[in-house]
Symmetry: C2
Subunit: 350 residues, 2 copies
């Protein structure tokens, strides 16, 4: 089976679980307070939007690397989607993103076009509920997992959430420095990518699956040698996708990274390699809320000339390193089949 089919196979298992989880939570919350249960319905609507469930799938197949997967692991993997909702809902407030997964973001829905502060406030609280639910899912996980394993998993999840949050802070700081023309190095950007994306998307979820399957610290370290370069490949491809991808597939406007003036490695290298005229055009576009379609096309052309090939090659090289770190590892075939092919899975986002 190819990784694409394996991901779809997993998606068919998680979706009913997510739906059942929220049906129960909404019912429970209605009983506490009917007037405010809408925030759980909002979290449910956001979480159930069409999404790839990449992180949850990494937990599931991370488990499969060490033990045969089962319904209890599918249930535990819901935690990843709740963490994802928690972090995305807050991230969308911070980045002032209007759209996510093809629909308005939570803070925009609650602001209802008139009260931005109220919208942000509600979205902060709704994200927080997602965090509590994620911890709940791991602690209520089936008796197949020992209490000790559950606690280890919760602690690992907290530790990786902390790293992601530090990565978000790095990103905000870098963004400010970058817009002010301050000095930033490739290493600075790569460290942010690792913390904000690598740990979040690949390493954290894989660790959780492995921990629930009883993996030891040495085995986790081996997973890191795969996860780190794959996280970088993932983010670089996601950045390309953000600029050239199909809005229908990415679920967010193709001009959003440029409008935000996002400090991607793609843009960083383009600026480094650009002629003075091109640099001026890029600088006029980055962070420009009034960006025109013509300007966006110009940015795409310049990036294509100056950095796209090098970023594609860099991403491929990192994905290759990831695969070779795990290909010969003594892990179960089912899990390896998925993770080894992950270059493909992530590619199809583009």
């Amino acid at each position: 089976m190819d990784a694409d089919q394996m991901l779809q196979d997993y998606q068919r298992r998680i979706e009913p679980g997510l739906q059942a989880f929220f049906r129960e939570k909404i019912k429970y919350t209605e009983n506490i307070d009917h007037d405010t249960a809408h925030i759980v319905r909002s979290l449910s609507e956001f979480t159930l939007r069409k999404a790839k469930r990449l992180r949850a799938a990494f937990l599931y197949y991370g488990y499969a690397l060490f033990a045969p997967p089962n319904d209890d692991v599918v249930h535990a993997s819901l935690a990843m989607e709740l963490v994802q909702s928690y972090l995305l809902i807050h991230d969308d407030i911070i980045d002032r993103d209007p759209m996510r997964r093809g629909k308005p973001t939570v803070h925009v829905q609650y602001a209802a076009g008139k009260d931005e502060h109220y919208g942000n406030s509600m979205a902060v609280l709704i994200g927080n509920v997602g965090n509590s639910y994620a911890v709940d899912i791991l602690t209520e996980a089936a008796s197949r997992f020992s209490d000790q394993q559950k606690i280890r998993a919760v602690r690992e999840m907290n530790s990786y959430i902390l790293t992601v949050i530090l990565g978000q802070v790095r990103d905000l700081q870098q963004q400010r420095d970058w817009m002010k023309g301050g000095p930033i190095s490739e290493n600075d950007i790569l460290k942010t990518i690792h913390m904000k994306s690598g740990v979040y998307t690949v390493e954290g979820p894989l660790y959780l699956g492995a921990i629930l399957a009883g993996a030891d610290d040495r085995e986790l370290k081996q997973l890191s040698r795969y996860a780190k370069p794959l996280g970088i490949a993932f983010q670089l491809r996601d950045d390309i996708n953000g600029l050239y991808g199909d809005e229908g597939k990415t679920g967010k406007p193709a001009d959003s990274d440029v409008k935000q003036g996002k400090c991607t490695l793609l843009m960083y290298r383009a600026l480094q390699a650009a002629t003075p005229v091109e640099q001026a055009a890029l600088r006029a576009a980055l962070g420009n809320q009034g960006l025109t379609a013509q300007q966006l096309d110009e940015v795409r052309d310049i990036v294509k000339r100056r950095s796209l090939d090098s970023i594609v090659a860099f991403a491929d090289e990192q994905a290759g390193r990831a695969v070779s770190a795990i290909r010969d590892a003594p892990f179960r075939a089912e899990g390896k089949e998925y993770v080894v092919q992950d270059g493909d899975v992530i590619e199809f986002k583009i």
Copy 2:
């Protein structure tokens, strides 16, 4: 010993624990990323500001109701102060409060007078770290507590955080309705108080202490009969305190509730009982960002005439109900000595 001394006794035990906790977390975070560890230092500075540690003390003496307290319970009780920081930092963003515990709020510190959105963004993330730390503290609690107890405690904490969040949403909604002159009943307000304050300040912390001491569900129910009325008494006295208290003691400006147009029961009853002229003066003051010192004095006078006595009496009656619910309960004397006298502890805030 009176409750005041018992609280001070506990404070002397928790402060070094909080300091040691943050020293270690800051060191650990510096190792992950020196550039962003300031957010943990900010959380540390906020948490270590002079505060009563009332919730943490409820956890400690809630434990003492069922078993002799010890250093491990002191450590577990740090979780309450981390939850407190998490909820307060987010609440201050939502309420746009400039001061907390006598110093600028976290979002104001990070905004540095120029970038409100950046300040709010950082404060959202810093609050989130507090939540993760609170869960960590309970899961790392000493081996005196079984893994099963730790999991039960984490689940109870999540459940009560959810109730508090729903209470915050109720509060925001009520605030909007109230400012628009919509119909609100005393019961609506009391339900919000119970969810936002009663569960948060009294019931949740007591439950956690009791759970760590091995209390069963029947015993928890008995604690609720104490916690619910005491939570109401606490909030009503806090509202009085907010309007008439000494800024040096409350740590926030005495006009902040009025400027925010906060829908307290104190203000609600004052409006109900006021003459048309007094009503007009109250309405002109509530939610008025340009509130003058003279207006504030007028509000104080009207409230004193119209609702203060009835709220003082209501709070006393609720505190009395709380005490009689626990006075004859078959719990340990040390814990009872504290909780039975709690009317006093809470009084001294005023």
